[in-house]
């Protein structure tokens, strides 16, 4: 479970995140929806302790990120905005590197890697060097290495960004499978369709604020719109930066 309480983060004069609070529960998919530049990536970066909040608190499975950031990272699987792979290593070696950094023992690592390779349908690319991978192959490898330590909580920053239709579909299936396993899945997106199709709970962020935190149905009821797209536009106040 990920609890976010009143997070603030400013870069100079710009208040990128200005009082964001929400909770992402186990066994649910929580979507962080907002236009480009709304503060989604900055919020997520504070969750996986890459950045320190100016104010506010992050609790992951009850561990305070400000007190023990290493312990927080241990229970998190993270697909950051930056997907950089090591291009002179094979996909398999990329995954094993992160497994070792998490202290996963060799036998367990092999089992999990095989499982992830099947779930992500990436067996054919396991032993290729990642240089020259397609966007979809890169994302698959990045997700596999982020999940190889079997984390209870999964954070994905725009996981379907740049993926084709087929890859997007299998990504959705994969997210649902993680939910079924009882994990806490938190992902950000600026694509409404995707959030609507997947999420148990939607947190809408605009200009560094949380403007809505509801189930998709409650969101429709709240805005009086039957169409989610219209509901989002109403909440955010403009169509800027959203994609259908």
């Amino acid at each position: 479970m990920i609890e976010v309480k009143n997070l603030h983060k400013a870069f100079g004069e710009v208040k990128a995140v200005d009082g964001v609070s929400f909770t992402a529960r186990d066994g649910e998919i929580t979507g962080l929806l907002g236009p480009n530049g709304a503060g989604k990536t900055t919020t997520l970066r504070m969750l996986y302790t890459l950045m320190r909040p100016d104010a506010g608190q992050v609790l992951v499975d009850g561990i305070d990120a400000a007190v023990d950031p290493v312990a927080v990272r241990r229970v998190l699987g993270v697909l950051p905005d930056a997907r950089g792979l090591y291009k002179r290593l094979t996909a398999r070696e990329n995954i094993e590197y992160f497994a070792q950094l998490h202290g996963v023992d060799t036998a367990l690592m092999h089992r999990r890697r095989e499982k992830l390779a099947d779930a992500l349908e990436m067996r054919d690319i396991l032993d290729r060097r990642t240089e020259g991978f397609s966007q979809g192959q890169r994302v698959k490898t990045a997700i596999a290495r982020a999940l190889v330590h079997d984390p209870k909580n999964v954070i994905l920053d725009e996981p379907t960004n740049g993926l084709d239709v087929m890859s997007t579909r299998s990504m959705r299936t994969f997210l649902k499978a993680m939910k079924a396993e009882g994990r806490c899945v938190l992902f950000s997106s600026h694509i409404m369709q995707e959030v609507a199709a997947l999420c148990d709970r939607i947190v809408v962020i605009a200009h560094g604020h949380v403007v809505a935190d509801e189930t998709p149905d409650a969101l429709r009821a709240q805005t009086g719109e039957t169409n989610l797209e219209d509901a989002f536009v109403k909440i955010i106040g403009s169509e800027e930066g959203l994609a259908a």
């Binding site: 996986y48 241990r74 930056a82 950089g84 002179r88 950094l101």
Partner: protein, 391 residues
Amino acid sequence: MNAILTVWWKEVRENLRDKRTVMSALIYAPLIGPIMFVVLMNVVINRETAKAEGPLKVPVIGAQYAPNLIDALKQEGLDPQPAMADPEEAVRHRDTDVVLRIPPSYGKAWKKGEPAQVELIYDASQMGTDTPRERLQNMLKSYVSEQGALRLLARGISPAIATPVIVSERDQSTPQSRAGLLFSMLPYFFVIAIYIGGMYLAIDLTAGERERQSLEPLFANPVARWRILLGKLGAIGVFSFISLLLCVIGFSIAGRFMPAEKLGMSFDLGAAFVGQALLLELPLLAVFAVAQTLIAAFAKTYREAQTYLGFLMILPALPTMLMSFMPVKPALWMYAIPLLGQQLGLSQLLRGGSVGMSEIGIALACGFAVALLIGLLTAHVYRSERLAISA
């Protein structure tokens, strides 16, 4: 497996797969010095020995005015060449190193018993003319003193009268210490081998990783950043150490191919030298690894880091250059300064001397202390939020 070791092994393995890094760190950096040295030294030594031992070819103008002199010089190894119209122009253009000119008045002055004049025409600003000129001067000197002695004897006077003081030179240099002079550039090549050996890794592991956007996922792992930094420093250290090792061994082998004995010199770059040189240079490995990483952490891109580190390559040359312009008497405190201490210690070893335990101890302690300070600063920069973010 320990996280530091994991990072270290991954960086070493990944960079061994990079042709550019391997070429520059393990081939170019360590071997450019020894190869250049063997080639250059062979050319220089062979040319010098040819000039010092072969027949001395000198154009002579007016040889017909002093046949006895020319005969005597021929006995000493002079090979007179035909006269030329404009000897001054010829030496300026390096057509010849030196010209001997005998004026028509030579014979008259000789018969009268007055000092007869001969002229040596040369250009002292031209490289490599010293040896033939000195040889010719010495030949003339010995002819002059021989003839002077004969004249005194003819008048019943002992030639010793004309030599009130005799100077005996006692050169304390040994074949090895004379070679040390020739080898004065060697410490710089060692330093360059360390510097270039680690440079590409230092750039790649920080600036490169950030540019390729892999630093952010790496920092999302439950490993403290200083551990990641240590692993990376270790990888840089391994590459620069191997580069240094190859360079030292390269010189050790190169020493054997040097026709040094022709110049009355000897090189001893055996196991003892290799061991002591490596020990002395160890702190530099650490200093360079942390300093290069620090600089790479400030650069936004690989190329930017490469530019900064390229500029800084001049820095290790400073002690070598300083010492060739103003020779210093080594003092213990100098070993405390990284680069200077290594320069002093190595030239001492090359001259066949030994470096004491206290000197080595001070060089190691101070060198590693400096590395630690820069390392703490680097660790501080590594903790900053901005390091991981590739804009």
